[in-house]
Point group: C2
Chain length 317, copies 2
């Protein structure tokens, strides 16, 4: 049973005053007339989500960045965060670097740390982030409509390629590793994009678990299907080298850790979205469209369907 199903089965109960409960990138709470608070929580465990010897400065940045990414996916302005961490020992040098990284991301994103807890235990980090979004303007997972174009920001697969290199699964030239490693270690949450997409996109999610898995959540919650064109997926030259191989396809479609936004919008918004892309100097690419049905398929250039491995993306393949 996946993480998602466990949450759904045991931790989804009616939350009457929540506009949107567990199951989107963030919950929405009505805190003030006209304003919702978006709230999301994440736990990162050493050995599962990061290497115990990861650079503490970059880890501090990423710990907050992945949470800010959830705010971006809601079209919310990230405002406040709490941080709980357990540490195997009181390692002040580590804490100093970690907190420096955490605050460098906080300050550049306008986030204030308003609560903290440190304790002894296996290295584990938990952030709760809170943001604000005007009533009715949040980007949700359940708003995709048939005919919507599916977009993705930036490029996909660099982080997965960097991780495969570190795991010894696919060695890269040094120069290539340098090009893709920042996607893995220092992701840039797409907050400005999320804000710009309010009242433009019908649905959005951030790509943390891999494009197909995350787009699958949009399909499930919007009760629609999707058609993706593999050759339209935006990838770097490094990833391009591997994209004919099953390994390369996995990096692009199921790699995860991209922290780009995947969103759907009606065709008539295309010009407006291209304008946003120019303004933000951020590539935004149409990768397919929303169709009737309840599943997604990925098409090759010749129009045939690419057969996918099952695991990781329930609504594709």
């Amino acid at each position: 049973m996946s993480e998602f199903s466990l949450i759904e089965k045991y931790f989804t109960r009616p939350a009457p005053t929540a506009v949107l409960g567990v199951g989107d990138d963030a919950a929405l709470i009505a805190i003030s007339p006209g304003i919702n608070m978006a709230v999301s929580t994440d736990m990162l465990v050493a050995g599962t989500h990061f290497y115990p010897d990861a650079d503490p400065f970059l880890l501090g940045r990423k710990t907050l960045a992945v949470n800010i990414s959830d705010m971006a996916a809601m079209g919310a302005v990230p405002r406040w965060a709490t941080l709980a961490l357990s540490l195997p020992e009181e390692n002040e040098a580590w804490l100093a670097k970690f907190s420096k990284g955490f605050f460098s991301m906080a300050e550049s994103s306008g986030v204030e740390l308003v609560g903290g807890d440190t304790t002894r235990g296996p290295l584990t980090l938990s952030v709760t982030i809170m943001g604000v979004v005007p009533l009715g303007q949040a980007l949700r997972r359940d708003g995709a409509r048939i005919g919507d174009e599916i977009w993705v920001s930036g490029k996909l697969g660099d982080a997965a390629l960097a991780l495969a290199h570190l795991q010894g699964k696919n060695r890269l030239e040094d120069a290539d590793y340098q090009r893709v490693s920042s996607a893995l270690h220092d992701p840039k949450p797409r907050v400005a994009l999320g804000l710009a997409l309010r009242s433009i996109a019908h649905s959005a999610i951030d790509v943390s678990d891999g494009l197909l898995a995350d787009l699958g959540h949009i399909l499930e919650q919007s009760r629609v299907g999707a058609e993706i064109h593999f050759d339209q997926l935006p990838v770097s030259e490094c990833v391009q080298q591997f994209s004919a191989q099953a390994f390369g396809k996995r990096c692009v479609m199921a790699g995860g850790d991209d922290y780009e936004l995947c969103f759907t919008a009606p065709v008539e918004m295309r010009a407006r979205i291209q304008q946003i892309s120019d303004e933000l100097n951020l590539p935004l690419t149409i990768i397919g469209r929303i169709i009737r049905g309840n599943r997604g398929k990925v098409l090759a250039q010749d129009g045939t369907e690419i057969q996918l491995e099952k695991s990781g993306y329930d609504h594709f393949g």
Copy 2:
């Protein structure tokens, strides 16, 4: 360096839009004209904060209860919570019981779970709780004034006595263990008391780390001293048996896990507070008073000062 100093040193930065930042039972955020949101986060690690084989239903209740207690200490109404947990294996039976306990506490306290994350890793639980309190009415740690009487709710030391029994440090008769064990396993957060004390108490804190450690935070942040009368501390008959011994004194004054409220209020509020005690059917006891200075002392019945071990309560002894 204690948990408190680590937080202070590395995670306290100016939070300009926060009314009150890291360092109280909860932070206060201005979310709406006239209303503050109180936010607090906690991490509980198996082996450090609870036994890995703890009853999952009671653990679920307590995980939320200790966070609700922080809201009580602020005079806030607890409203929303997020839960992140890592589990060594996908143990559905455990999750089913844990979530049942968590929701039993949530429902009886009017708290909605609005965000969750489950992941693989060492058994660790992290809750962030959010509540609301009218502007200017929160109970803080920094409001104690010279001449205030110091009060504590309920009884102190039962939880510590139960824990010492489980640790084999001080065996109890079965009947005695039964009497004190619910204080350890199923604490009752004093939300109604916190609300009743708005505009009555000058300062408040919940007793999670032990009376002297927690009252010490009030002394530090209010820049005052305190005089406590040991024989006035409210204890159960079980604890009373040991209170002549150093061990018994430790349970009462430094045991922790009591989750009672310790608060200070001016003498003229005494009758009003006794009325609250009657209304809530909850003992409220005067244990001493706030004096000039920056330290606390504990007095024996004959007026001599009781010498305390240093550790755990910087502002006493």
